[in-house]
């Protein structure tokens, strides 16, 4: 069964890069443009992994992470933060909320694969 990954970012560019990154793998990618949509998508799709931005309109990533960890049905879904912000207070708060890993933009696709591969099974698709 394909690994389900939810990408939550207000930037279409980043969602496209995340989609392209996992394209060689047996993964199903779902997308959301802010934390509110991300929470709804997480409840609906029950992803194996969430890749989450911090600064977004409507609901930011830190708020979404907090709400996710308060929900008994969603709190075990692992989250990787993918953000340009690595300020001390932000990182400490996010770590305390229970994020699994943290990747600072700009990033190489291999870095995201390496971090995701430590958390979920990434099976290469057979060559066409």
């Amino acid at each position: 069964m394909a690994t389900k990954i939810l990408s939550v970012d207000d930037s279409r560019t980043i969602r496209m890069i995340v989609g392209r990154t996992f394209k060689p793998y047996d993964c199903q990618i779902c997308e959301a443009g802010n934390g509110e949509e991300g929470l709804a998508a997480a409840a609906r799709e029950k992803p194996d992994l969430i890749i989450l931005d911090v600064t977004m309109p409507v609901m930011d990533g830190v708020t979404m992470l907090g709400k996710l960890k308060e929900d008994p049905a969603l709190k075990t879904i692992p989250v990787i933060m993918l953000t340009a912000e690595s300020g001390r207070e932000n990182v400490l708060q996010i770590a305390k909320l229970g994020v699994r890993d943290y990747l600072v933009k700009p990033f190489k696709e291999e870095q995201l694969i390496e971090k995701a591969g430590r958390i979920v099974t990434l099976q290469k698709k057979p060559a066409a």
Partner: protein, 243 residues
Amino acid sequence: MNDGPNYLELSRRYGFAAKLESASRLTQLVSRQDADLDEIAKVIDKDPALRARLLRVANPEAENEAEYAVETVEDALMRNGMGCVLVLAMSTPLAQALIKTFQTMLSLKIETVDPRTAAPLAGEQLVCNIDFTGKVVGHVLLRMSAEAGRLIAAGILGLPPKEMQDMNEVRDVAGELLNIMTGNFKSNLCDAGLECKLSPPDVRSMGDFLPPVARAGSVEHMAFHNGNIQIFVDVTANPWSDD
């Protein structure tokens, strides 16, 4: 009481790159309202590149060094105060983030060039702006030709340049590029106690555009170059807003 891991441990765990020592030091110094100008002057004097940039910021009208009215670090600090140091402290991580973004996401090496001698942009341009408010107030402008924007967007999205015709996608990539740059410097500012908030990027396609003229010492113009790509970045900042 602190039960969890500290920031240094988390930085190692997550594999964060080390922050630039000179920029962090400068930001910490300038964040103190009782900052000692002599101490700041010593930090800048030790770094020839920083010294050259400070004097350029302090002499915005000069075409070259021979025309400088402000010739020493001390004089620049006395005349312009902390604003010019803050601009320097902010521009350093911004420039590093731009260079790193090109290296990691485009495998392209862009180089800094003197903005006074860089060829100005002609024709349609992409102008991206992010405002920051809080203990520091100002904005960052990123400018490039529409064609450069298309090349960058194609590279970042992994598409052939000729397929990159949707200007909405080009603008989205340009906005994200500026987001990445400003997110990096925001972290530096916040770590030094200068908390600020960033606006979402505002990206527009425009005809001829001239960067805003700011008073001496509060704006730094930077330029970057690789082949057909020429990028201009203008950073304007004033510290210690009451917001």
